[in-house]
Symmetry: C2
Subunit: 412 residues, 2 copies
């Protein structure tokens, strides 16, 4: 069995560079090829790949066309960290070329492309893993552990959000060659659902005994960017006259086959501290991220919140327990390293990844479905069953130590 | 000008008794008649009315039929604190009999009855005030003050909830003659929207320059009551076999004419500490009730929450400033006394109440509209314009010191 995997990196923008550095921290990872449409980023990628990690090497090749990476037969997998709208097309090309895919998060633009992603993976038998780092957050994994151990009882309702003041990133997107400027200019939807929906989907066994049936989305007006641009770019800034389509707050309600509801909030163009707005409610208790609190029936003092801190200790996910003992790495409080380790493990051992192509298609589809719901005046929209019924009786999850569908303490 | 108002009280259950006691604390209030369908409650009402307040008297009359109160010509106004589904019919009868109405909160059951309420008030010229105490909460009024002083800038999104663990009250409704048992058994909707929607409607100038256009509601499954009943009433409790229709979590999204969105959460049959889940977001900042926090652009430390406490001091509503100097009364941290004072003032001075019949109809209509949306699979449902266009250009609010549509510091 080999102990090194050769990775090709596609998309070397700001996030791509970060991802590559963190991934190069993993013992088995070697980046042998990097690609971007901009030459300076290609060079930056070569520089990073040849100076980070135990497998840093001087024969990293750079490309302006990702097809050249796909044509190489020494590459085991590609990591796609490009602009949102190129994620799925590149992933499809990669699988067709026999390369395993690690896909940075984002939303989809049509249901058809989600089906295509699934179909190509099924036909080629090449897995595609969505690199949803928040599934591996310390708190999210503790909550997962608590849910699987029935601490909250039957789960009724979950909430989450991507609540991140990105007014600078969006407004300065052109000069920084960042896709968010055009996304916010042209589209109005839940454009970034997976950071909160990923963990929730695993809490609720989506695609393994449960599924999301339908959603409704509503958008507020679009006002948040303008005062920011005025203050930071001046009264003459051209984009002050642009008609940005993305509503400041987009709220999405999802109904699941087993009767649970999910609430998502996109809140990225108004001033606020960062939050993923997590909330889980079962018949035995509730957890809320925003006040770091929990209430458990018959355990917490009557009608009073308790700090979540002691429960985080008590219900630390075994993976995180081990990880903390060994030393938490950088990258969004350590969760990035875990999700890339999960991907690397699946490539190295040739096993199914813990976040598979059905998860990727289902979670990403929320963006195009929310867009439809909003433009139709908040009508309910069906969420396709990308498993085509396999969710009723899927085989048990792979034995990855990074698995998210069950919590197997014995693996550690 | 008279300085005493004669009130008839209709509905002397648990809440009715509380309301009466608080109201009798107001100098001008005299309760001369009480009514309930149960004789023991009538007697309790007589006992309270003859022993509380400066106008306690020994000639309080008791009735089993509220029409007898409406027939008396010495009565200036009635307060209706009956079961939810009798609120509007009694209010209509009262206005037809020339009695001003103070209506305890609850939701409506049909759009038609909301129109009837408005029409009768318009035809008789008798005002009907919804006694929404939460509009007078100390925090809510400080937020109102901040919004009217433009601290949050243009408002984009508001949230609120009625998040109150009522499993005991619902489950024991039969033995306590409480309507919630039957409501939860028969109906699935946002059954109690006004505690959070009332303040939000005033923040957003609903019915005075703005209006709510449409809503969508979604309900979770119904599971929360059963474990509670099992634990507290035993395995043989008959209601364990009842099919309660009310979902544990009902989420409602509302779109306003001026582009704002409102999110409501009903969460009353799962374990949790109490919250009204307030949140206000404008282009300049955000306030959140659940972590008692605020973030103001260019004022708060970058990307960090501040405690709301100092802003509560700084932006204390002038009414609350005065109230605190004079001594805050009992009843939900003092807000009850204020809403009843607003009602008493409107009756005494024969002026329009700060929460009028259009507000009552609009806010209460959410319950029947959410019911329709849920049973139709979360379709969007129109919210009628109960002002029939008057919201475009309504005259400025009355000069009540309890007014909620503007903050007039000069009144104090």
């Amino acid at each position: 069995m080999k102990n090194i995997i050769n990775i090709g990196f596609i998309g070397i923008g700001c996030r791509g560079q970060e991802v590559m550095k963190t991934m190069l921290d993993i013992d088995c990872v070697k980046v042998v090829a990097v690609c971007d449409v901009y030459q300076d980023r290609v060079e930056k990628g070569i520089e990073i790949a040849s100076s980070y990690g135990v497998n840093a090497s001087n024969d990293v090749k750079g490309y302006l066309d990702y097809h050249e990476i796909l044509n190489r037969d020494d590459i085991d997998a590609v990591v796609i960290t490009t602009s949102w709208y190129t994620h799925i097309p590149i992933a499809i090309d990669a699988m067709k070329a026999g390369k395993r895919v690690g896909l940075e998060v984002g939303g989809a633009y049509s249901i058809q492309q989600c089906w295509d992603l699934v179909k190509v993976s099924e036909e080629t038998k090449i897995p595609c893993m969505l690199l949803e780092n928040c599934c591996y957050g310390r708190t999210e994994m503790a909550i997962l552990n608590m849910i699987k151990k029935d601490v909250f009882g039957e789960i009724i309702h979950c909430q989450g959000g991507y609540e991140h003041d990105l007014r600078d990133e969006i407004s300065c997107g052109r000069e920084n060659r960042h896709y968010r400027f055009n996304e916010y200019l042209n589209r109005n939807t839940e454009n970034y659902p997976t950071h909160e929906l990923g963990p929730i989907a695993k809490y609720l066994n989506i695609n393994r005994g449960n599924r999301m049936l339908s959603l409704v989305s509503m958008s507020s007006k679009t006002k948040g960017l303008y005062p920011w641009m005025k203050q930071h770019k001046g009264n003459d800034y051209d984009a002050l006259n642009f008609d940005f389509k993305q509503g400041d707050i987009v709220t999405t309600m999802i109904k699941c086959a087993n009767g649970e509801t999910i609430l998502l909030t996109l809140d990225t163009s108004l001033p606020r501290p960062y939050s993923r707005g997590g909330r889980v409610q079962g018949v035995k208790g509730i957890w809320m991220e925003d006040n770091n609190s929990i209430y458990l029936d018959n355990i917490s003092p009557s009608h009073k919140w308790e700090s979540f801190d002691k429960y985080l200790e008590q219900y630390e996910h075994p993976l995180w327990k081990k990880y903390r003992e060994e030393g938490v790495k950088s990258g969004h409080d350590g969760m990035d390293y875990l999700v890339y380790s999960a991907f690397a493990e699946s490539v190295l051992k040739q096993i199914d990844p813990p976040i598979d192509v059905y998860d990727a298609a289902t979670w990403m589809s929320i963006s195009c479905l929310a867009e439809i719901s909003i433009q139709q005046g908040s009508t309910p929209v069906d969420i396709p069953d990308f498993t085509n019924g396999k969710w009723h009786h899927r085989e048990k999850p792979c034995n990855s130590i990074y698995q998210l569908d069950i919590v197997n303490d014995e693996l550690f």
